[in-house]
């Protein structure tokens, strides 16, 4: 592999969510992580340590930006103060990808700081298409939208979530961030078939993959990011890799943080699983 190919490979590669608990490990020595994903809002602050750390880590690793408060599906007006701050951070970070969720976070000017589920109706689809297109026009780049974990669905739903996302991506000309754990969690909670869902996702639109751990409450599962990735989710990840080919993929961990070395082991497992899939495909 030439130096150039290696760089291109690294830009694809396997990443981790950047979390402050791991700063000492990341700054101490080079880590076998191809890129990090930041939560955009954590760095939408005036200055100080957060931005200083961001610049230091950015000097050594490619970054991707993942937002949690675009509130794409909300019927409130788009928040251009937020989008301006996001655009400023994009200019600083020069990320490979900017993403957020198919969700809303509040209405009537409030923010519940959660990824709330949208009904899967034609009305909601038209609304999201129009807003995603305007966000992309404002940012001057394409964004990726992630399938959320959901715990309720609506009697008025007119289509499945995979079809909703496929149409949204096609009509708004945006990308998708496929969270395999969220597919698993939502499939369990709503009783749909996860592989059938994945079969309906347009592969050329998928710009990134998330996997994460969840909590199993037996009657339903919650997307808590506080456990290692489950076997069922790894199986779905392998299915995605075999079907979609190489797509940048990462592990999200947000609570009950293990030592960094354990997370690296999990990332190594992901790498080997993906490579094994490629050998099978070849």
């Amino acid at each position: 592999m030439t130096e150039c190919e290696k760089l291109a490979d690294r830009a694809q590669g396997f990443g981790l969510g950047l979390r402050t608990v791991y700063y000492p490990d990341i700054l101490e020595s080079p880590q076998p992580v191809d890129w990090f994903e930041i939560i955009s809002e954590n760095f939408m602050v005036p200055g100080g340590r957060p931005l200083a750390m961001l610049d230091r880590i950015r000097a050594d690793y490619p970054l991707r930006m993942h937002g949690v408060s675009l509130s794409l599906a909300s019927t409130d007006p788009l928040d251009f103060d937020y989008l301006r701050a996001l655009k400023k951070l994009i200019a600083r970070v020069e990320p490979e990808l900017v993403s957020d969720h198919l969700a809303w976070t509040g209405a009537h000017g409030l923010n519940l700081h959660d990824l709330l589920p949208t009904p899967l109706t034609q009305e909601a689809l038209d609304h999201c298409v129009e807003r995603a297109a305007r966000v992309q026009d404002f940012l001057g780049r394409r964004i990726a939208l992630e399938n959320p974990s959901t715990y309720v669905s609506f009697a008025d739903d007119e289509m499945g979530e995979a079809d909703f996302l496929a149409e949204l991506a096609r009509r708004a000309d945006c990308l998708l961030l496929l969270d395999v754990n969220n597919v698993h969690v939502s499939a369990f909670n709503h009783g749909f078939d996860a592989k059938n869902y994945l079969d309906r996702i347009p592969k050329e639109r998928v710009a990134q993959i998330h996997v994460a751990g969840h909590s199993d409450l037996k009657t339903h599962k919650i997307d808590t990011h506080d456990h290692p990735v489950s076997d069922a989710v790894w199986e779905l990840f392998s299915y995605v890799r075999e079907k979609f080919g190489p797509i940048p993929a990462m592990i999200e961990r947000d609570d009950r943080f293990p030592p960094f070395s354990e997370l690296l082991d999990e990332l190594g497992f992901m790498r080997r699983l993906a490579e094994a899939g490629e050998r099978v495909a070849a």
């Binding site: 005036p46 200055g47 340590r49 209405a107 700081h113 309720v152 008025d156």
Partner: protein
Amino acid sequence: MKLAELQSLFQASVLDAEPSPHLLARLRPPGRAESVAETFAVYHDGFRLRMTEFLANDYPVLRAALGELAFGAMAEAFWRARPSTFRNARWFGASLPAFLRTAPHYCADSFICGVAALEAALAKSFDAEDAEEIPISALAATREEDWPQLRLGFHPSVVVVETSQAALAAYEAAQTGEASLQSGGAVRLLVWRRDLDVNYRVLEGGEDMALVAAFDGAPFGEICSLLAFANPQKPAEELAMAAGNYLARWFADGMIVAAATAPG
């Protein structure tokens, strides 16, 4: 039902003590759970846990001082009075001290109000805007007759906060892991960031007065006059010397980012 109506109903069902039966009737039966109320609780209860967690992140000493139950109750009183309108959860808890100062249940508790004020000031300083500090040598060229017009610009991370001796002792005990039983009256703290680290120190009367005036843009001459009014028994030279020492210390601590003698 239109999308906007449905979102209103959903949001109210998260915020209210119980979800609206009208909303639950519009949700599909879950795959395995007993009832849709059980899965809706992920949003309803999750919201409360998250609000409490945001506040606990910004106010760990207050959280420890109140204990889990009382802190949870305070968090709910706070988000009910001041629901988040912020995209960034970072700003949600910033007005907690202002809320506590006027909330009937908390306003008389100088310890609780003091801990909250102290932790809010530290958080504000932590990620305030960056600015380049200037050395005291920047004043070397200032002519003696221009000194009364000298005005200073402070680093954006500089915060003056009123707290209590007991609150400060509790905060310091939490840093060292020791218990604190100290009591005591009001105390004013100077908080500022240098080299990414947040520092603080207690402000005494003269420096407090000089700093607040300088912070408000008063020129050096006015600061000296203020000190003279407050200390009529002290000779003017002594007070000018004290003012000069304060100023030197602010420079030495890296708190000054601009100095100019232009009238204005």
